[in-house]
């Protein structure tokens, strides 16, 4: 009910705003939409549009022997590779055209000469629309405008400062590739392309944001990904009408199925191997320029609890680690609540010595267990948030304060029991086990209401809270795929890669819901078998082999 009212109010608010802001981001301050034939007029348009921006560079070159034709080379300093501009544009126009007498040529011939012979770049486009030209220049391309013709050329000479490909910060693996995505879309697509060397790997690009003009790309493998999902992603992206997109998290809120859920229904990752793995399961990736976080959809809940390393380690170990992760998920969500419920309502559940030990510890504690738990959880959250935000130099200081004051001194002062400290610490560590951060935040948030329920209704409260979370999760969908997919609904064939991971040679099929269009991914019977001893000629008798 409340959500409905809230969403209605939000919708009303949004629709009102949309009317006001539609003008922004249209072609800035030019009455005309097409380029003029007069060079000076065009120059004036540009100067007018970009204002006094100090990084705008307009260089005039003459084409042919004097007087020749004036050519304007326009670009933004810092966004282009300046050496490339002078080598591939200015030099050929200025030097090699010395012998030409362009006045004798028609305008079309001049354009052809420039585009097809003189500009030594692979990506040259002809534009006549003024807005196109402006957006290309603003996006780091180089505009070339000729006097006496109403078309301009736009060449890709982009070269700006960027971070190199580094190891991802938030998803670390011991075994596996160390590359992580970077902020530049083109680098990210190349990281993917290098892993899938097949023309069926398609990347579609969109521009989102009227002013920021952020490039957003959908990447998928044609033939494996469900066409309906791809179309759905296209629709959802083109629907977005906003002035700027800064990060994929912002994009995610426009794309997801359940905007009011604490759980993410789109997965974000920094790892290219994770993305390609998902692509081969029939999912699609959404890359956003300006952020190393790539979105993957459709996803299931258990995908958030997997790590790429599961697929590189031996399957026994990988399966055990997965089970450990699931256990940690439940610990992170329920342990403080269970502790509160048991110590407050169900003491008889614990073995007697343990009850006595806890009771002895709690003797001097002035607060009820629920308050104690909330206090400690809250202070831990504060500590964690501080540790993320504070300048790295202060790191040791905060850990001393955290460990000594919040841990040791709080117990000594009798504010909290040491059992509670153990519970909170275990919960905190368990919540770090979740490989995808966006899920672990959701768990952190949900822990508090469940603690409250446990403090008021005991175990029934915990069961209630857990059931509501479970009902909510199973009602979610991610691009049409049930979010709890192999568990609810139970899909037996998909359990092979969720609760445990079977060996690679046993996972013959893609996930049922996403990989339907091409379910089989490998031939049957790939299990390696050692040759029998009598047939084993290689290791059996090397001497004989050598003699024959």
């Amino acid at each position: 009910m409340a959500l409905g009212i809230l969403s209605k109010a939000l919708k009303r608010l949004l629709s009102r705003q949309r009317k006001d802001s539609r003008a922004l981001g249209a072609c800035p301050s030019s009455p005309q939409t097409l380029l003029s034939r007069k060079l000076r007029e065009n120059e004036a348009f540009i100067r007018d549009a970009f204002g006094n921006s100090c990084d705008l560079i307009i260089r005039e070159v003459r084409f042919g022997i004097s007087p020749g034709i004036a050519v304007l080379v326009v670009h933004i300093d810092g966004m282009v590779d300046t050496a490339l501009v002078s080598e591939a544009i200015i030099k050929p126009i200025g030097v090699t055209s010395e012998l030409l007498e362009p006045e004798r040529l028609s305008s079309a011939q001049v354009q052809d000469m420039l585009k097809n012979r003189l500009i030594l770049l692979s990506d040259v486009k002809q534009v006549s629309d003024i807005a196109d030209l402006f957006h290309s220049i603003a996006g780091g391309k180089c505009g070339i405008i000729l006097d006496g013709s109403s078309v301009a050329f736009v060449c890709d000479v982009r070269g700006f400062e960027k971070r190199s490909v580094e190891e991802p910060m938030s998803e670390v693996v011991i075994r596996g590739p160390r590359e992580g995505f970077s902020e530049v879309l083109r680098i990210n697509t190349s990281l993917l392309r290098r892993r899938i060397k097949d023309p069926s790997f398609w990347i579609e690009e969109f521009t989102v944001g009227r002013v920021s003009r952020t490039q957003v790309a959908i990447a998928y493998i044609k033939g494996i990904a469900n066409d309906k999902v791809v179309q759905e992603a296209r629709d959802r992206i083109t629907r977005i009408d906003i002035d700027s997109i800064q990060e994929s998290g912002q994009l995610e809120e426009y794309l997801e199925d359940a905007p009011f859920s604490p759980f993410p229904t789109i997965l974000r990752t920094e790892r290219p191997d994770r993305v390609t793995g998902a692509l081969f399961e029939g999912r699609i990736a959404i890359l956003t320029d300006g952020t190393p976080f790539v979105l993957i959809a459709p996803v299931t809940f258990l995908l958030f609890l997997t790590s790429p390393e599961d697929y590189y380690e031996r399957f026994f170990i990988a399966s055990a680690v997965r089970l450990l992760r699931y256990a940690s998920f439940f610990i992170a969500l329920l342990l403080p609540a269970l502790y509160v419920a048991v110590t407050t309502f169900h003491q008889e559940m614990l073995p007697t010595p343990l009850v006595l030990a806890i009771a002895a510890q709690r003797e001097g504690v002035p607060f009820p267990a629920i308050f104690e738990a909330l206090l400690m959880e809250l202070s831990f959250e504060i500590l964690r948030e501080a540790a993320v935000r504070l300048p790295k130099i202060y790191g040791p200081a905060i850990s001393i304060v955290g460990v000594l004051i919040l841990g040791e001194a709080a117990v000594r002062a009798g504010l909290v029991s040491s059992a509670m400290i153990i519970v909170v610490a275990l919960t905190a560590i368990a919540s770090f086990v979740t490989p995808i951060f966006s899920l672990s935040i959701a768990v952190r948030l949900l822990r508090f209401p469940i603690i409250l329920l446990a403090g008021t209704l005991g175990l029934f409260g915990v069961v209630f809270g857990f059931s509501v979370v479970a009902i909510h999760l199973s009602s979610l969908r991610s691009f049409g795929v049930p979010f709890l997919e192999p568990i609810a609904p139970v899909v037996a064939s998909d359990l092979k890669d969720t609760l445990i991971r079977l060996p690679w040679w046993a996972m013959d099929t893609r996930p049922e819901f996403t990989g339907k269009s091409d379910l089989r991914r490998q031939s049957r019977g790939l299990m390696p078998r050692a040759p029998k001893p009598q047939e084993n000629k290689i290791s059996g008798s090397p001497g004989k082999r050598g003699s024959t």
Partner: protein
């Protein structure tokens, strides 16, 4: 005609929710046992119940399969005409609501008796009703998906409870067999059939199956597995508690409290309570869903979702109002409740099949004359 419920469920989910539906009220309150003087023969009563129920379940399923995409509420209006059909629909709806009220109250009583005697029963009932309404509102698909998982959990926990107290079991407690004659079996059979008459729910679920042709098979499986679990419970309870097993209020819960392995693996009554709460939640969700759909179809409403929460509130209030205590409730479940729901199920089935027979006769005659 607008589609009220767009979801589809699989045969396995159908079976799972039917089994949950059968064993939920008795996982703790084993009313079959409390309803008999000589407990040794309860397992025989359960088997007799299954033998009677299988044809009933098959008949309901077959009838539903004759009207693809229609619930029992809809096709009873087709078969019996709008007035009588609606009246019958109202009776079925009343049964759904009664069951919801029973299980809500039973869960509340269970918690108050077993775990938290000082908490008002209203708290448990309200929370349960909220949780189930949330699931019911999310649709049949969500309820049944979770239902399947809950079924696995429930079976696992039940089997643990059956197997682990092996030290305390004395199978000679089961003797003598049938020493008190067949008349001794009548009350537990009636009680068992009372619960099985809830299988009218099949008439609400079959139209939403993704492969309706399997419905009969899964309905039979449901009866077999449900009765199997019940018979096992009867055997284990008598083997452990002896001839006085009928004096326990929550026998299965008490049984789970006895489990102790190596002074470490104990307290699985928590798991029993959790599994019981989850499965009661699923059962209530299913009945709330069915009741809302029934109301929507009886009164030609376009959506059922808005009915779920108010119905939940009504059920909590009635649950408080209708019964005085657990004893009262158990007595009702075993006697008046059981008999009346058997009557409803029997009359419904007879009426519908009679109408179907008459219709086919008329059609054949018309076909013959035309």
């Amino acid at each position: 005609m607008t589609v009220l419920e767009g979801g589809k469920i699989s045969g396995r989910q159908f079976m799972a929710v039917l089994i949950v539906l059968r064993i939920v009220p008795v996982t703790l309150v084993f009313s079959l046992i409390s309803n008999i003087n000589h407990v040794q023969d309860v397992w025989i009563a359960v088997i007799i119940g299954a033998v009677i129920t299988i044809p009933f379940a098959v008949l309901v399923t077959k009838l539903s399969l004759r009207f693809p995409g229609k619930t029992i509420i809809e096709y009873s209006q087709i078969l019996l005409g709008p007035v009588v059909g609606r009246l019958l629909g109202l009776v079925i709806l009343w049964c759904f609501l009664c069951t919801s009220i029973d299980i809500t109250r039973v869960l509340g009583e269970g918690y108050v008796i077993a775990i938290m005697p000082e908490t008002p029963i209203l708290a448990f009932m309200v929370m349960l009703a909220f949780m189930s309404s949330y699931a019911a509102r999310s649709g049949l698909e969500v309820t049944c998906r979770l239902g399947e998982d809950v079924f696995y959990i429930l079976v696992f926990v039940l089997l643990l409870t059956y197997v682990l107290p092996y030290n305390a079991m004395r199978f000679e407690n089961l003797r003598p067999v049938l020493a008190w004659g067949v008349s001794n079996l009548v009350p537990p059979v009636i009680s068992d059939l009372g619960f099985y008459s809830q299988f009218l729910m099949i008439g609400m679920l079959v139209p939403y199956l993704n492969r309706p042709e399997d419905a009969t098979k899964y309905a039979i499986y449901a009866v077999l597995i449900g009765s199997g679990l019940m018979a096992l419970a009867a055997v284990v309870l008598v083997a452990v508690f002896g001839p006085t097993a009928n004096s326990w209020t929550l026998p299965l819960y008490s049984l789970s409290r006895m489990i102790s392995l190596g002074e470490f693996f104990e307290r699985i009554e928590v798991a029993v309570m959790a599994a019981w709460t989850l499965s009661t939640g699923i059962k209530l969700a299913l009945f709330l869903w069915a009741a809302s759909i029934a109301i929507a179809q009886l009164f030609n409403l376009r959506a059922f979702e808005h009915l779920v929460y108010p119905l939940g509130a009504v059920i909590v209030a009635s649950g408080l109002f209708f019964f005085n205590s657990m004893v009262d409730l158990e007595d009702f479940l075993a006697k008046a409740g059981a008999v009346s729901s058997i009557l409803v199920a029997g009359v419904t089935l007879t009426l519908l099949y009679a109408a179907l027979g008459i219709r086919t006769l008329i059609r054949r005659r018309k076909g013959g004359s035309g």
